[in-house]
Symmetry: C2
Subunit: 406 residues, 2 copies
């Protein structure tokens, strides 16, 4: 008998009909002989409704009170799902984050889980019950209600799975797994049967948003086998593993892309030690997050410094840089927000050389000019003109044979 | 400096605008130098919305899960009111019933308060905060969320006031106090400045529903001065006291009436010991509540037995009685649901004779026939034809001079 933690997001529990469907799925898992813990989010729309109420009252409500307010969303869902399970003859019991108890730090609205007491859940499971737990929320050491921040229900599920040493943590969502790339861009995109945690982290942070990054990190840290599946269709989904067995070949997991970045360049920076810090220091102070950074080798004693930021921050970044360029005696600042970032992700890169040059060759054949390159152990990212997004993704998907089962 | 517990019901916090008005009232009390604890209900309509969601899922949801569900209603209000207070510069903090902690028994949906730990509230009050507590809810010894049943927020407020030894518990509602009778029936009805707990209990149970009976009982038990006021208009409301000072005169508090009863009579019951029990036993077994009971002295060895029940129970009661009458050899059963009960309430009755005959005389002058009479220490009730309701109330109101200030 296995212990499974299932997590259903807001869309999956968005109406009472859907909650009843979730109950059916839970009972199915129970009937197969498993112990089941279910973690649920607020019904879709509910959190926004509550935030709207708060905004009618205060422009800057205290984070503690926002947590008291929005945590009611999941509390409604746990009660309704438990009723649905009971109505189908399945013994079940609900717990809020405080009741479980999911102990967090006191950082309201973005708390981190410190500890989960699994005693109560284990006792209920032993007595044959399904245990339904409110995701996204916890309690700090002083009994204050905390929330983990939006999407934190994934993290709750993984943390509970870790605490209970569950055999699998299943994240039910509105997609049926992790794909080699976005099927809207490349119709031949294929669902991956498995992906490693590291690949998943790279895929997630690059825009293929299926799971909360923190949840994936958490799962990796505690070796919790994680599976992404659809609430609405049958299927095996994608298993996220921490083992790399059977990926000896030059395996590429997929292609991620990000449309939200813009490129900034400071040209003709006098090439002396500390220039990079003098440029990025003020950017950081302005709370602008930087992604890729490239400093070209200097000619004639100057260097060109290029980096990417979120498109929303371009205006502010340019203002900061104009001042910095002036102080540094740099020649000019320019920005380009008609770019996208394309990334090839795969643990196979570790053991196989030549993947980068292979990638560049494929893009070159299509006449796509590469503006920036950045590499990590299991990822190669390039910045290209945004008009080449579809072409680039399809060429790489085809070039690396991603439509074929590994 | 006084400690005041204020309670605002669902209508008073029915919209975000009204919650802001409540914040203003709370701040007013605080500015007058008082420590203030506020107990709130769910926004009007919210509890029904939640019950409707549950009914879409299950015809008979478990009481434990209903409590988890509906308790979110007050949790939303405490967060919003605290935000409104903060936004006006008033330090405040919210607590759910579990957090306070309001310890109850485990009777879900109709739990009774066993104990309140005032430590946390007292500490917050000392630091200058207004404390906002969710009414209607608590926690049992195992950490399960419980509710006190509809209207239980009044009880929460009184219980907190008792635990903190508050100087006054103010119940804000949509009426501005307790009246000598229903102003819709007698426009000259007058707001009472004070009423005793016992009178209030009689008035409340007889249909002048302003306060939860349990809250009044609780307040009486712990000698908590209780005041009923309007959320929407200024005014002193009605103070409910447990002292009877200054009511030496033949004081009548008011006139209550009840339209919901029906009269049943078993005629020609052979007059032997045990007949009353033989009649009322089966009625009790059928879960029918009996209010007034009268057994007339028998003639020719038989007696007539009359009592009142709720109108909804008449059909069932007649069925039970027909069988009973048959067994007993009684002559006949008849029922009358075109009656009402009229009650004169006042602690002055204790020390003053003649009030009953005075009452009967006033009714007789108007040609109103009395069908049943029942008396208690501070109340005289009569059953009359329902068509005489308005006439009877006005005649008594005038006859006892209730429009004049005591």
């Amino acid at each position: 008998m296995a212990l499974i933690v299932q997590k259903y997001g807001g869309t999956s529990v968005g109406t009472t009909e859907r909650i009843v469907s979730v109950a059916d799925k839970v009972i199915q898992a129970k009937m197969q002989g498993n112990d089941v813990v279910v973690v649920v989010s607020a019904m879709s729309g509910e959190t926004n409704r509550l935030i709207e109420l708060a905004s009618e009252i205060s422009a800057q409500p205290a984070a503690r009170e926002m947590d008291v307010l929005v945590s009611t969303g999941e509390q409604v869902t746990i009660a309704l799902l438990t009723m649905a399970l009971n109505a189908r003859g399945c013994p079940a019991i609900s717990y809020t984050g405080s009741q479980v108890r999911i102990l967090t730090d006191s950082m309201h609205s973005k708390a981190r889980i410190k500890e989960i007491d699994g005693t109560r859940i284990s006792r209920d499971l032993s007595s044959g019950r399904v245990v339904v737990v409110a995701g996204f929320q916890g309690m700090d050491g002083n009994g204050n209600i905390t929330t983990l921040g939006r999407g934190g229900s994934d993290t709750s599920a993984v943390a509970i799975a870790a605490a209970l040493k569950a055999n699998e943590c299943q994240i039910y969502t509105d997609v049926d797994g992790v794909y080699t790339t976005d099927p809207r861009v490349e119709p031949r995109a294929r669902r991956l049967e498995r992906i490693t945690f590291e690949e998943m982290l790279e895929m997630a942070s690059l825009g293929s948003k299926v799971l909360q990054i923190r949840a994936v990190e958490f799962a990796g840290k505690y070796n919790v086998p994680l599976r992404v599946l659809s609430s609405f269709t049958e299927g095996e989904g994608t298993l996220i593993t921490y083992e790399e067995d059977g990926v000896e070949e030059a395996r590429i997991a997929g292609i991620a892309f990000n449309r939200d970045e813009a490129k900034l360049t400071v040209l003709g920076v006098p090439d002396h030690p500390g220039a990079a810090h003098q440029i990025l220091g003020p950017i950081g102070e302005a709370n602008i997050e930087v992604d890729m950074i490239i400093q070209n080798v200097g000619r004639d004693g100057t260097t060109d410094f290029t980096f990417t930021v979120h498109r929303n921050d371009v205006q502010r970044a340019v203002e900061v840089l104009n001042k910095v360029a002036n102080d540094l005696g740099a020649r000019e600042v320019n920005s380009d927000d008609s770019i996208i970032k394309l990334s090839l992700v795969g643990v196979g890169m570790r053991s196989h050389a030549g993947i980068a040059s292979n990638m560049f060759e494929i893009l070159a054949k299509e006449g796509i000019n590469i503006k920036m390159i950045s590499t990590s152990e299991i990822k190669i990212s390039v910045v290209i003109d945004e008009k080449y997004l579809e072409l680039g993704v399809r060429a790489l998907h085809d070039g690396f044979g991603l439509e074929k089962t590994a």
